[in-house]
């Protein structure tokens, strides 16, 4: 609904919220009880229907998570029946452990690159493929297609493409850009960037789909009104389109952040966190520590840190998004 100010801001939340209906009875004493009783009965049935899923969730997620989290404060090696509580020693070790410090930094860096990259690329693709160009349906499918391929398969494919003697360097040499050839996965400075690129290549299509859906909700009459008022394409985008896309931005950003923080497949397949630890991220560090070094308690501590970072990142993102809607 147009709020009628000169900046053409759109309150999309008001447009999307269902109207509230209040039911009043003639008897002021008796009438509040019956609807309340009916609501309580309905809630009870809902709870019973939720019971199987709730049991499964508690059994497979909540209880093992709590059990596992306890091990972060012990010296358990994953096999022995004997272990001791060691308090915060595992967390203190992280401060001086180059593997942990590098993994945390790389996880945040990779998440930043892939979140910003996927959102920018996805939005640009959505804008381009929402215009009246021919074959836009085919192009949407083509760009979305990599998303449905297993990340492990994509990682193996790109590992081959990025070989020093692989197709990418081959193409660069063929077009006279031999100076640009690199050891994409073997150079500590480039390994993580190369992996980030692969993630962007695969997953930008998914973000594009989210934004295409969001663009359907941008009112055409607002865009026309803005055009009539003399606003150019860029002004129309920032004044009309982008505010209308806020829900899509919230969803896409949150998915990218969570996806970036939990990245494992691409790193493990392409570099195993190497060379050295230059492309190590938290997920791969947890796996390596638990299963290749047998230090389960330290791996669990790293996993708790990853969970904490994810929660904090999601909370910040939600707060920023909510602050934006309250403006």
């Amino acid at each position: 609904m147009l709020k009628g100010n000169s900046t053409l801001m759109v309150d999309t939340n008001a447009a999307l919220s269902p109207p509230k209906v209040e039911v009043r009875s003639a008897d002021p004493e008796e009438s509040p009880r019956k609807p309340r009783q009916r609501r309580a009965q309905g809630n009870l049935w809902a709870l019973w229907f939720l019971l199987p899923a709730g049991v499964f969730l508690l059994f497979s997620v909540a209880v093992p998570s709590v059990q596992g989290a306890v091990y972060a404060f012990t010296d358990w090696n994953g096999l022995s029946a004997d272990w001791n509580f060691i308090g915060l020693e595992n967390f203190a070790d992280m401060l001086s452990d180059p593997l942990a410090r590098t993994a945390i930094f790389n996880s945040l860096l990779l998440t930043l690159i892939t979140t910003v990259g996927q959102n920018v690329i996805g939005l640009l693709l959505a804008l381009a493929l929402s215009s009246r160009i021919r074959a836009r349906g085919f192009l949407r499918v083509l760009i979305f297609a990599p998303c449905v391929v297993t990340p492990v398969v994509v990682a193996f494919l790109w590992q081959y493409i990025l070989l020093p003697d692989g197709p990418l360097n081959g193409v660069l040499n063929a077009i006279g850009m031999g100076w640009a050839t690199q050891t994409w996965l073997g150079d500590p400075q480039l390994a993580l960037i190369s992996i980030s690129f692969v993630i962007l290549w695969q997953m930008s299509g998914a973000v594009m789909v989210i934004y295409i859906a969001g663009l359907q909700n941008v009112p055409d009459e607002l865009l026309e009104a803005a055009a009539l008022d003399g606003a150019g394409p860029v002004r129309r985008f920032f004044a009309v389109t982008l505010p209308a896309l806020r829900p899509a931005v919230v969803i896409a950003t949150l998915l990218c952040i969570v996806g970036g923080l939990k990245t494992f497949d691409q790193v493990w397949v392409m570099t195993r966190g190497g060379p050295g630890v230059s492309s190590q991220v938290l997920s791969t560090a947890i796996y390596q520590t638990a299963f290749l070094r047998g230090d389960f308690s330290y791996a669990t501590a790293l996993a708790l840190v990853l969970a904490l970072i994810t929660i904090i990142a999601a909370a910040i993102q939600q707060r920023v998004a909510r602050a934006g809607t309250e403006d």
Partner: protein
């Protein structure tokens, strides 16, 4: 928010109790082991995919001789195997017979698993006395035997005979020859040795090949002395071994794609003759898939008589301490440990190239390849050494070496920093 009444709280309580009741059953202890029969029933095995052919041949014979016995095998490889075996042991769902590594230095090696009580004591088995004095320590913990090593694995310099003949060069016999060999190969437009450093363990093979001559020979008690604070890795032959690895890179010994290639690419390069050789382990033979190979030591000095080849026990069979069919499991391991089956296993693993049987006198039936003949010759001459990780107290030392040399080979970090990391890892694991 709607308050949940008494009935709703009942549902919630029911959910929590049901979930906890389900998890209470997951004690991780597994079922109590029964004794079972030694010739009937179902035997479960967890084995490495790379040795599947050898095991299948032995299983076929076992089932023929024990018609009432059925063997079910699950295969895994690499990191997946390490994750599977420890997870299953902890959960109490591990099979009766397990592939383990000999000695220490690996989360699925004999010593750490035996130390945790995960393996059955096999000291009273008839085959224990057939193990040589050199091999026996790698099967034992606290004086008891826990595993049977089926093969000896070999690390050395492997040469593609066709590529070698085409180059007109000769296999280097001294360290100076190695550097000259590399330079000559470069001049011809080829490469002396292929390596794929994105596979983490590739970065250890040069130093492992030099270990018997430069480290173990001069100081066989090095690990104990480091643990006691009497010396360090930097003050040992490891310094020279790692420096020589870097010197080889500087001399152009390795393929230009070394930093970006993996073990499969490195193997392909050597197999197809794009490089003349590769410093590698016998277990790569199925991947290299080229039988026309020659094994030689990687010389660590200019005295050819000092050169050594690394030979050590490898693929080992152990019995789960909580095996559901312990009698049948022991019988299977004893069957595998007979000279006939030991030879059958080894011959069906990559055609027998790159490995040797452990309880067969002299050469096995399939050990007539130039690769194996050289290994046997060095064994008979007493010119072999072991693999260093099998005596390290934790996998962290090997990991420090592998990850460090991944960067150090081409100058990404210093050899001294790698040696310091190895020292720190060994000292931490012995605290």
């Amino acid at each position: 928010m709607t308050r949940i009444g008494g009935a709703g709280r009942t549902v919630l309580a029911a959910t929590v109790v049901a979930a906890l009741a389900l998890t209470a059953g997951c004690s991780g202890q597994g079922n109590a082991a029964s004794t079972g029969d030694a010739d009937s029933g179902t035997l479960t095995v967890l084995w490495r995919e790379g040795q599947a052919d050898g095991l299948k041949a032995v299983i076929a014979e076992f089932e023929k001789q024990n018609p009432d016995a059925t063997v079910d095998v699950t295969y895994a490889e690499g990191d997946a195997y390490l994750a599977a075996i420890r997870t299953q042991l902890q959960a109490g769902t591990a099979p009766d017979v397990l592939h383990v590594w000999p000695g220490n230095g690996n989360v699925a090696a004999t010593i750490p698993l035996a130390e945790n009580g995960s393996l059955m004591d096999l000291s009273d088995e008839p085959w224990v006395d057939s193990l040589s004095e050199e091999i026996a320590p790698y099967t034992q913990y606290d004086g008891k035997t826990y595993s049977f090593p089926s093969t000896l694995s070999i690390i050395g310099a492997v040469y593609n005979n066709a590529a070698l003949a085409a180059s007109g060069l000769e296999i280097p016999e001294t360290w100076s020859d190695v550097i000259q060999f590399c330079e000559d190969a470069r001049e011809q437009g080829t490469v002396a040795f292929s390596v794929g450093l994105t596979s983490t363990h590739e970065s250890q093979f040069i130093s492992y090949a030099l270990y018997p001559q430069l480290v173990q020979g001069p100081d066989p008690d090095l690990d104990e002395r480091i643990a006691a604070g009497e010396t360090t890795f930097a003050d040992s032959g490891w310094k020279e071994a790692l420096d020589k690895n870097v010197e080889m890179a500087e001399a152009g010994c390795f393929n230009d794609s070394a930093q970006g290639a993996d073990m499969f690419e490195a193997s392909r390069i050597m197999s197809e003759g794009e490089s003349i050789g590769m410093v590698t382990i016998g277990q790569y033979m199925p991947i290299i898939n080229n039988p026309d190979l020659t094994l030689a030591p990687l010389p660590g000095s200019d005295d050819p008589t000092e050169s050594r080849i690394a030979v050590a026990p490898s693929t080992s069979a152990a019995v789960n301490a909580k095996a559901k069919n312990p009698a049948l499991a022991k019988a299977f391991v004893a069957f595998l440990a007979t000279p006939e089956m030991n030879e059958l296993f080894e011959c069906n693993t990559a055609g027998g190239i790159g490995s040797l049987p452990t309880v067969v006198e002299g050469a096995g039936k399939c050990d007539d390849s130039p690769f194996d003949v050289t290994a046997i010759q060095f064994l008979e001459e007493g010119r072999t050494g072991g693999f260093p990780d099998q005596t390290w107290p934790s996998p962290d030392v090997q990991m420090a070496l592998q990850l460090g040399m991944q960067e150090a080979v081409f100058g990404g970090r210093t050899v001294d920093s790698v040696l310091q990391d190895m020292n720190d890892a060994l000292l931490e694991s012995t605290e």
